[in-house]
């Protein structure tokens, strides 16, 4: 039964399809040549798609990883008695980070950090912070007051309260925030190619600059599949982590 559910899982098939395209894109050259006669070469070949994906995933991992760590630390801090006064300040700052268009952050970061992956990571990090912080705060604040009161009344220390009660009960909501943030970051990372980062956006911008539509399609399809696949894997993770007696957040 369990095996059956894995074989019929959409995540598996999206994963297989994505991997096949990632490595097999050059084999599709005749199809692109036929669809778009006159474009040469028909498939992006300034680098392998696998290398582009690896770099793309690395950027997202670095930015989202940092955003998750900082977002969690801030959310935990502002939901403790000591940091309660900073709650609205943190929310506001995170919201400002979100309203800044990543393209503008890139433009501002390049003079400071130079071309390459670094300004991209900064832009993705700032852009991804809000959903993580907001969800983590919502999750931690959503832990029932009676449960925390009972925990304190039985003698759990503040650290035990956080580790044994707050975090496990808030985990589904926190994870949902990370999921949103990572999925957005995967799509947004493509613009890093405009400042010299290697991403799956590189063929897209090359295609736009050189009027080569097949490149745009190749990059866009891979980015979309990557984002969908990641989202599906997060959904599986959420189900796997789901605590007995609790509901999934989404």
């Amino acid at each position: 039964m369990r095996r059956f559910s894995i074989i019929t899982s959409p995540a598996l098939w999206v994963g297989v399809f994505f991997t096949a395209l990632l490595f097999g894109m050059p084999q599709l050259a005749p199809a692109f040549e036929w669809s778009f006669p006159g474009v040469s070469p028909p498939v992006f070949e300034r680098g392998s798609f696998f290398a582009l994906w690896l770099s793309h995933a690395g950027l997202v991992l670095a930015a989202s990883g940092a955003a998750t760590v900082l977002g969690m630390v801030l959310a935990i801090f502002v939901t403790r008695p000591a940091g309660r006064d900073f709650r609205s300040l943190v929310s506001t700052l995170a919201a400002v980070g979100q309203t800044f268009p990543p393209a503008a952050v890139l433009a501002l970061a390049v003079p400071a950090l130079g071309f390459g992956p670094r300004p991209t990571i900064v832009a993705l990090f700032l852009y991804g912070l809000l959903p993580i912080i907001e969800n983590a705060i919502a999750g931690l604040e959503g832990v029932p007051g009676a449960t925390r009161e009972a925990a304190r009344g039985m003698g759990l220390s503040p650290w035990q309260l956080l580790r044994d009660v707050d975090l496990p009960l808030a985990a589904p909501v926190i994870l949902a925030g990370v999921r949103v943030s990572v999925t957005i970051a995967i799509g947004t990372a493509t613009i890093g190619s405009t400042v010299g980062a290697l991403t799956l956006g590189t063929p897209i911008f090359d295609g736009l600059a050189g009027n080569k539509l097949p490149f745009v399609i190749q990059g866009a399809v891979l980015v979309a599949l990557f984002a969908i696949l990641t989202d599906m894997l997060f959904a599986r993770l959420e189900r796997w982590l789901q605590l007995p007696g609790t509901q999934p957040a989404v």
Binding site: P144, A146, T147, R148, E149, A150, A151, R152, G153, M154, G155, L156, S157, Q160, D164, V165, P168, L169, L243, P244, G245, T246
Partner: protein, 279 residues
């Protein structure tokens, strides 16, 4: 013995508990009774330092509660609250084992203790041990809450309207349970309620609180027969009528039927029937 000595608590300059002194003897079932906002819950929560008090001193068994860390103190005191506060992500067994685990009991000892407590609360251990709170009825959850409070065998049990959120029939059963447990274990219990019938039924001694101060301290009979003030008389309600109407159940509590929830009527003919009888 719990000894509150001139204890006060203010929120924003307003005294919620005002220079309160009372002594709960060992083995007593002390009910803190009063209307909403009288400070009874705050008083209870000051005993295990969930609410820090501003002035005065509280001793438990001669020991200043501020002499140890709040965590150490609370692990020695059983605590049960109205909305139960069971950990939804832990099984019944894990919930009951909370304090023993904090105290690093051996695994076998915890297991045996959980079995013992489930039996004490009349829940079949093998059936309930691995269930989660959402699989239980309100009454069963409340029983687990009481079992959890008793887990580390504390000398003192604090209960904050523990049966406030269950239906009258279940509440009646739970009241019988806690009375039985009190009789069997001789633990000191401090119990907060606004339900006069619950108080009369369970208490060996009642403290009626009014605006953060003590309006009357006495046995249920004293409270009913000799109200110390108009406030107590009004709160207990139409007592002369009650005394004369309670003829049908003079002998035993079994003739009284289940306690009724608080009624507004000044005539409370069944009031005395609600008392535990004989004491």
């Amino acid at each position: 013995m719990i000894d509150l000595d001139h204890v006060s608590k203010r929120y924003d300059g307003r005294a919620v508990v005002d220079d309160l002194s009372l002594t709960v003897p060992d083995g007593a079932f002390c009910v803190l009774l009063g209307p909403s906002g009288c400070g009874k819950s705050t008083t209870l929560r000051m005993i295990n330092r969930l609410v820090p008090f501003d002035s005065g001193i509280i001793h438990i068994g001669g020991e200043d509660v501020r002499g140890v860390s709040p965590e150490t103190l609370r692990r020695r005191i059983g605590y049960a609250i109205q909305s139960i506060g069971l950990f939804p992500h832990w099984s019944v067994e894990d919930n009951i084992a909370t304090v023993p685990r904090l105290l690093n009991w051996a695994r076998n000892r915890i297991r045996d203790r959980v079995t013992e407590l489930l039996e004490l609360l009349r829940l079949d251990p093998e059936n309930y041990r691995h269930k989660y709170p959402h699989q239980l009825s309100g009454g069963e959850q409340q029983r687990v809450g009481v079992a959890r409070a008793l887990a580390a065998d504390p000398e003192l049990l604090l209960m904050d309207e523990p049966f406030g959120a269950v239906d009258p029939i279940t509440r009646d059963a739970l009241q019988s349970e806690i009375a039985r447990i009190h009789a069997a274990t001789k633990k000191t219990i401090v119990f907060v309620t606004h339900d006069i019938e619950e108080a009369l039924r369970l208490a060996t001694v009642i403290a009626i609180l009014e605006k953060g101060g003590l309006a009357q301290w006495g046995t249920p009979l004293e409270i009913v027969d000799q109200p110390a003030s108009g406030f107590v008389r009004d709160f207990v309600g139409g007592e002369t009528a009650a005394a004369s109407n309670c003829s049908g159940c003079a002998g035993s509590p079994s003739g009284c039927g289940p306690a009724k929830p608080l009624r507004v009527s000044p005539y409370r003919p069944r009031l005395r029937c609600a008392m535990r009888w004989p004491r």
